[in-house]
Amino acid sequence: MSVIKGDFIDNLPKVYGLYTGGFLIFILLMAILEQAGVGADTIGILFVAFTVVIYAAIGWMSRTMQVDAYYVAGRQVPAVFNGMATGADWMSGASFVALAGGIYFGGHGYMAFIVGWTGGYVLVAALMAPYLRKFGCYTVPDFIGTRYGGNLARFLAVLVLVIASFTYVTAQINATGTIASRALQIPFEVGVWFGLLGILLCSMLGGMRAVTWTQVAQYIVLIIAYVVPVIWMSNKQGFGMIPQLAYGDAIMRIGELESLIGVGTQPTEAFPGLKALTVPYYEAGTDFASKWKFVTLVFCMMAGTASLPHILMRYFTTPSVKAARQSVAWSLFFIFLLYFTAPALATFTKLQLLDPSLATSIIGKSISEVSALDWIQKWSAVKMLAISDANGDGILQITEFFMRGDIVVLATPEIAGLPYVISGLVAAGGMAAAMSTADGLLLAIANALSHDLYYKIIDPKADSKHRLIVARVLLIVIGACAAYVASMKLTSILGAVAWAFDFAMSGLFFPLVLGVWWKRANRQGAIAGMFFGLLAGTAYLYAVRWGGMEPWLYIDHLRFGIIGASVSLVTMIVVSLATAEPDEETQRMVDEVRIPRGESVLDSRH
């Protein structure tokens, strides 16, 4: 018997309240240890190890052999807690580690990610989540397969899901590997497998139920780890307790400094993986190209959000349709807390480095003075930062300072001179963010393969014990494949993340939306939409990324979903209209999905 049952649900606020209190006490304890002279490395190890052990314990306590608990957490997760779990599911290692750095380097153009990764939830709420919840499916392909009927439609949905989620999960395991290797002082290749072990401990025994309760715990760690350093820094610089509302002046000041120090000049040297700051911070382009690039990127990230199965499946776990809708709102609220902090963090870091009136600034100082700084030495040693006196004047110019975007989050506590306990906290937060997303993604893939491919297509007579064993074996196999790919370091973290959104929207966005909103959509149309959408998107990605093709209308490899989704929409409508309308039973099914009352379309234990 498992510990997590009915009365656990009633006591959720208390349980997680105690957990949060415990975590804060742990942080204090670490701060005391630091004062007592315990080394920075030990504190980093304790932070990562302690939190991962807690997640694994929650995973162990949530173990289950029931099908509906494994696939949809028994459909009893309250809206607010599902919102937190979705927040953790959503905010990946990339959001946590790379977002602020992206804003630091990319300025306004990069903000398209912030807008896209939040506004997508409006689509989830208005078009998808409540209807999928009413449907009562276990997985996203389960909806496609039942609404449109037939194994081919189901199979194509599984295919799109696997391609999109696998692209994404390798990046997450890569991030867990990076953080684990730095915090625990082990090689990256070992760190990747350590990260995978932690991820599997959270998800394998209890499926969706275990992932839900660990994700709530991970959300709490990651949000504390993100917000505390920013508030601390803001206080130090005199911007007050709510820095998110007060950094306007800092932005204006950066704008003034940029012209003084020559932001916009291209550097004469290059270091692999590192960048110098060349883009003005808040200026937004007024030409068609930059406006168009902004809105197309926003659209891709939004439609991708509304098609990513690991997000949609979180709303299958709420007790009701009404709770599913509210839960989308709570999800965005919890995501918002991090996303509106990231630009503040980027701004403070930038100001600290650029503003000559601050003690932390480095631009305009002598090269020898800057090279002697602890954090510069530490991060140069791991090749995440480089300084080079290109013009030989002995002074550090903006075009002579190179770094990786990730540093903005990882090194900010050190740049600002905060105690090491904060760096340990940030490492634990990054680990939580990457693990929670990897968990959701691996589970989405393994569940689609075990439920839709194995149970629904290959062996419909399998009993529930058999199904759950297959699900777990698949989870391990897929996790191992992802860790293996990640250990080969094929792509940078963010390139791959944007692709996952494009793949998902190319194949799944319109078949999902039209499945609810257009009764006339039929099997042939959905099959054509998924197949040609995925094919066109992939072909276009290949052509612009590797085939040397000039992108059409600035639709580059980050935006290939526009091509895929357009092809998907057109073929789906044309083919649906050219073939017979869906039978009466299917039409009644759509009618049922549209009202919250009554039994779900699929049996609760199908």
């Binding site: 398209a112 306007g248 919250p596 009352r597």
Partner: protein
């Protein structure tokens, strides 16, 4: 099949569609329209921020959060109005 007559279903769905369209119009404005004009908005200062930047860093996000909470409430009252809300 839940026992709800066809005309109720149609009336409920028409209202639901209307709410969806209203929601997506607000969504469109704050996802695309305001950012299209970010360059011009930047000459306006809001809470000390250049407005174009502010909208992408906070303004649109706040609107989205409020919009979804509002949407969830409205949809629930539409459901109750037509007697198709879930039994509590």
């Amino acid at each position: 099949m839940t026992n709800v007559d066809q005309s109720t279903r149609e009336a409920h769905w028409a209202k639901t569609k209307g709410l969806m369209i209203t929601t997506l119009i607000v969504w469109f404005i704050f996802s695309y329209l305001v950012h299209w004009f970010a360059g011009g908005l930047n000459s306006v200062t809001f809470l000390g921020f250049p407005l174009g930047f502010y909208m992408s860093a906070q303004g649109s996000l706040v609107i989205f959060v409020v919009l979804i909470f509002w949407f969830a409430r409205r949809q629930h009252s539409i459901d109750k109005e037509h007697g198709v809300a879930e039994e509590e």
